[in-house]
């Protein structure tokens, strides 16, 4: 048996040059029967190795090359599950005991956690080899004996490298030592790349790792190209007479048992009082929840809940539901706003437990889209929390289940296109300017085609060193997708029943969070359950609003007419998910009057449906302008709520169940395959299967075929209805807040910015349009965040660019003693850096002390120079008399306000030129509603969020909103105009535009089809 026991994968982070797939494929090709991956101090390759090896029919051995406290290396292999658990614990300790430093394994933990491990003495940087090579035979012997005493026959002397100076001597000495101590020798390859031809990739990666350039000399670089996966013959050619050691490697390979069961379900355990059964508790909680959620728990509801509970318990997910319920319960008790999202809203159980806010039964949502016996995939419950308190929730989870059982899922930052060019270009010695030029000009290409880039004219003009450029591009192609470093997943937390540290090593990520060494996919493959605790700023804004209003968010009336009127007007800026121009245009035509319409809206404005031209037919059917038809009468029940259009994934599943008699689980599988089917052939096969079963179920062949074509057309971009419903819920409620409490809600949006679709400057224009006054920030009246004072929004001091938390706190604290009487008083009581004082004056926050901001700046200079306000220079012009200082002009003030606050306090820039514009016949956005359709109008304003969505025809159309002092007007810019003057739309800084075009009306909305577009010159 040929076994390779010392192999590095890319998870050795820049010390392994071949992907796991490539290593495994190469190993299989040369008849290797067991392959160990031994990365530096981590087990990140474990799951991927298991999967790849199983496919190739090779035995996977899990190990690591650990660094000991003296910096020497040691190879540890897990012989069995116990050994794997110990290895995880060892590595966790090595990482957590040395935060922000290189992980080190201590000898004492080695002694303590040695069970089940096979220990190889390591490469040349191993203690024994190092001592032997440096002529310290006795010390080497002592070191080897230490291990021999602890590990006995599980300790092996390793010869890992050949063809290096001293290799022959090292081989001789190792043999001698083994003979004296009665130890076995083992031959390994210290593999860092799959084949000898790949060594250059490794060499370059070493340069990247050591931050050196390729011409530099660096001891970490390898002397030769011998660290590849060698065949038996090659190994023996390099180490003649070591046949026995090679056999030993094989024996070790044979003796290592499986350490991980990928099919195991390591579900978390929800702590319950002794004697209580999780299933019973869950049943009870669901029962209570149902009574709270439904006025009358009908037979229908009972059956559905029973059905769900049955599947949940049969799959063993009752603890998981309890656990999520508990987290949500915690958030509720603490008043942390939250909302479930994603497919979990397909579950009535989740609704009864308060995890989601969508009535799955009432909406007829399919539980099987979320969970089914057939799919038996791990469920994924995502919950959004108020962005400010998400960490509190995470902390609660850590606290409740203990650090041993909880960790955040990691992500791997990988080498991709431009960043790879930058890293590798630097290592290859390209000057910074050239790398920059190259990275910027590099078009997006697949890694396999990167060499074609060489012939591009825009790269040729750079006159780069051609050989090195080829090398650079080749290397980028080779390392594309390799991990560079480990990061933290946004919200994914895993909770396990057995200690997590026995399933994965844990380490500290940059943010100070303990993370697993496995990413999302690995965690899923391992059968660990992940809980996504996400943060959503909209919820923070909602929370701020309802707190001020003392409003019961859950009691917001469901069918508020005024709210639907607002939605129908299309003026939905600030409404969650429905505020983009495309959504506003849809709303103004759709005439939504119930939540279903909003659910459909959320699903409709997506690249897929837009490209598929689903929007227009949907609107036409909704308004009764087009008949709603069904290919089969059985479809009516399923598609009625979307007017006969397949919009949701749940509908695809239901059609397959009803028409072709699929079981719900099978139907979901069908949907997933249809979604991902890339080729015509796959689709054809699926179609045949569907049609056959449909015919067997009594459907005419023609109709069956028609239905399948229809489903296939939409399956690829169908949206999860449960998710759309969750979002629509929040959308409706935020629309209610915009309609009835605009001041409070817009203040909250501003305080939580950046959020939503629009910048703060646009939000306050919208607030003013709705009749809400906006007051400048004030050192005496503003709080940290924006709030409502006498019906107006008072901008908070936290909005000021450059304002620090400490500065803000000291200001508010100082103010508790009474208002600031003068600038001098303010500066004396609050200590801030000079630029911040200056900013406070320039944004108008110090207008409390006098309206002339320039005069205040002079005063500030004097105060900061520790002199009374009587100072100043005798300059003649702005003389000793303060009254002589001329204030900034309107435009200057606005410029500072936009720079510092992102919005105009003194007014809107267009106000200053409005009189002139009127003379040119330019109207305001507000005046448009009084003008006739089809009229040519002139409009001026600032372009906001221009974007080029994908269109069905492939032609370019730009949608942009034009902001003037009265609000936003939507513009449509077609390709010809875009080519002529599109550059003015995408400038930085944003320039005001003068626009001429035709007034269009669709539904209640007004928009302009642009005919002429030019910069506004005043």
């Amino acid at each position: 048996m040929l076994a390779h026991l010392h192999v590095h994968s890319p998870f050795s982070f820049l010390d392994g040059a071949s992907s796991i797939q490539r290593l495994v494929a190469r190993a299989a090709e040369m008849g290797v029967e067991a392959l160990a991956i031994t990365d530096h101090n981590n087990l990140s390759a474990t799951v991927k190795l298991h999967k790849a090896a199983a496919q190739a029919g090779i035995k996977a051995i899990i190990g690591a090359e650990v660094t000991l406290e003296d910096g020497s290396h040691l190879v540890l292999l897990a012989r069995d599950a116990r050994g794997y658990a110990n290895l995880c614990r060892l590595l966790t300790r090595a990482h957590l005991d040395h935060p922000r430093k290189e992980p080190r394994v201590s000898r004492s933990s080695l002694e303590e956690l040695g069970e089940g491990l096979v220990v190889l003495s390591g490469c040349r940087r191993g203690e024994v080899a190092h001592l032997l090579l440096h002529g310290k035979y006795q010390a080497a012997r002592a070191a080897a004996s230490w291990y021999q005493q602890r590990f006995g026959r599980d300790y092996y002397l390793e010869l890992g490298e050949s063809y290096l100076p001293g290799s022959a001597r090292l081989a001789r000495l190792l043999r001698e030592l083994a003979g004296q101590l009665g130890l076995e020798l083992v031959l390994t390859g210290n593999v860092h790349y799959a084949s000898g031809h790949d060594f250059w990739v490794h060499d370059i990666l070493t340069c990247v790792r050591t931050l050196t350039r390729i011409d530099d000399i660096c001891p970490e670089r390898r002397l030769n190209a011998e660290n590849y996966l060698k065949t038996r013959e090659e190994l023996l050619l390099a180490c003649p007479g070591w046949e026995r050691a090679l056999e030993v490697a094989g024996e070790i390979g044979k003796s290592c048992g499986p350490v991980l069961d990928l099919k195991a379900r390591v579900h978390p355990e929800f702590p319950l009082p002794a004697g209580e059964n999780p299933a019973a508790v869950l049943r009870q909680l669901v029962g209570e929840g149902a009574r709270r959620r439904y006025p009358r728990v009908s037979k229908n509801i009972k059956e559905r809940l029973e059905h769900e509970l049955d599947i949940i318990c049969r799959l063993g997910f009752e603890d998981y539901f309890l656990l999520v319920w508990d987290v949500v319960q915690f958030a509720r008790n603490r008043g942390i706003r939250h909302a479930g999202r994603g497919s979990a809203a397909d579950s009535a159980v989740a609704y009864c437990l308060g995890i989601t806010e969508v009535d799955a039964i009432g909406r007829g949502l399919l539980f099987e889209r979320f969970m089914s016996l057939e799919r038996a995939q791990l469920p994924d419950i995502d919950v959004d929390f108020d962005a400010r308190h998400r960490d509190l929730v995470t902390q609660y989870v850590y606290g409740k289940y203990g650090k041993e059982h909880v960790a955040t899922v990691c992500t791997y930052n990988t080498f991709q296109g431009r960043s790879a060019v930058r890293d590798i270009g630097k290592a290859l010695g390209f000057p910074a300017g050239e790398i920059d030029a190259l990275a910027k000009r590099l078009p997006w290409v697949k890694s396999g085609e990167i060499r074609d880039v060489l012939n591009l004219p825009e790269l040729r003009v750079l006159q780069l060193d051609q050989d090195r450029l080829e090398l650079l591009l080749d290397c980028c192609a080779q390392v594309a997708g390799h991990p560079r470093f480990l990061g933290t997943h946004l919200g994914g937390v895993v909770i396990t029943r057995p200690p997590l540290v026995e399933l994965t090593p844990l380490q500290l990520a940059a943010k100070g969070v303990t993370v697993t060494q496995f990413d999302k996919e690995d965690v899923e493959d391992l059968g660990l359950i992940k809980l996504d605790l996400l943060s959503l700023r909209t919820l923070s804004a909602v929370e701020d609003t309802v707190k001020v209003l003392e409003l019961d968010y859950d009691r917001i009336p469901a069918q508020d007419r005024a709210t639907y009127q607002l939605l129908n007007s299309g003026q939905t800026i600030g409404v969650f998910q429905l505020e983009s121009p495309a959504q506003r245009a849809l709303q103004s035509r759709l005439g939504a009057d119930n939540l279903e319409d909003l659910v459909a809206s959320v699903a409709l404005i997506r690249p897929g449906p837009i490209k598929g031209n689903m929007v227009e037919p949907f609107v036409a059917r909704r308004q009764g302008k087009e008949p709603v038809t069904y290919a089969d009468p059985r479809l009516r029940r399923i598609l009625a709520k979307t007017y006969g259009v397949v919009l949701f994934q749940e509908q695809v599943i239901e059609i397959a169940t009803v028409i072709a008699n699929f079981s719900p689980g099978d139907a979901d599988r069908l949907r997933r395959v249809m979604t991902h089917a890339r080729s015509h052939r796959d689709m054809g096969e699926l179609g045949q299967k569907f049609v056959e079963r449909a015919i067997a179920n009594g459907t005419p062949p023609q109709v069956a075929q028609e239905i399948f074509t229809y489903m296939a057309g939409y399956a690829s971009y169908g949206f999860c209805e449960a998710h759309a419903a969750s979002f629509a819920n929040t959308a409706y409620k935020t629309a209610y807040l915009v309609q009835h409490h605009p001041a409070e809600f817009f203040a909250a949006i501003l305080s939580n910015s950046p959020m939503g679709y629009y910048p703060p400057g646009t939000i306050i224009v919208e607030a003013r349009r709705r009749g809400v006054g906006v007051l400048r920030p004030s050192v005496n009246y503003s709080q940290a965040s924006c709030e409502v004072q006498d019906g107006n929004i008072r901008i908070g001091l936290g909005q000021l660019r450059g304002m620090t938390r400490a500065g803000l706190e000291s200001l508010l604290k100082a103010r508790q003693a009474g208002p600031f009487l003068s600038l001098a008083d303010f500066c004396a009581r609050v200590s801030l850096p000079r630029p911040l004082y200056q900013s406070l004056v320039l944004c108008g926050a110090a207008d409390d002390f006098g309206a002339n901001r320039r005069k205040l700046l002079w005063e500030l200079e004097d105060i900061l120079a520790h002199e009374g306000p009587a100072g100043g220079f005798d300059l003649g012009a702005p003389g000793a008399d303060w009254g002589g200082v001329e204030d900034f002009a309107f435009n200057e003030k606005l410029k500072f306000e936009y720079e510092l606050l992102g919005m105009g306090m003194s007014g809107h820039p267009l106000e200053a030129v409005r009189d002139g514009l009127r003379k040119q016949g330019v109207v305001t956005g507000a005046e448009l509603s009084g003008l006739g359709t089809g009229r040519l109008v002139k409009l001026a304003g600032y372009p906001v969020r221009p974007h080029r969505p994908p269109t069905r025809s492939g032609r370019i159309t730009v949608f942009v909103s034009l902001e003037d002092e009265t609000g936003l007007t939507d513009l449509t810019v077609f390709e010809n105009i875009y080519h002529r003057s599109g550059q003015y739309l995408f400038t930085e800084p944003v320039l005001p535009l003068l626009v001429e075009g035709k007034l269009e009306r669709r539904g209640q909305g007004v928009s302009i089809t642009v005919r002429k577009l030019a910069p506004l010159v005043s």
């Binding site: 290799s167 022959a168 060499d203 030769n224």
Partner: protein, 82 residues
Amino acid sequence: MAKLVNQPVLVVTDGKRRPRRFFWIRHWIDVQSILEEWKDTGRWWDGETEKTFYRLAGNGGAVYEIFSDRRLNQWNLYRVLD
């Protein structure tokens, strides 16, 4: 004392292309034994090819390091240690 020579030399090799004797300062030096053998890829990015080094015990008692470039079929005496 070690002396860096790095000069081309004539070498007679055996069937495995390992050195048997070489010509250095008007003498043929016979290889008594090969002490070490290693490989060095050098400045591969500049087009340098891999070199195989041999540390040899010569018949005069000195140790020599010579290397061959198998692709170019060339030999150099690299260092002399006496």
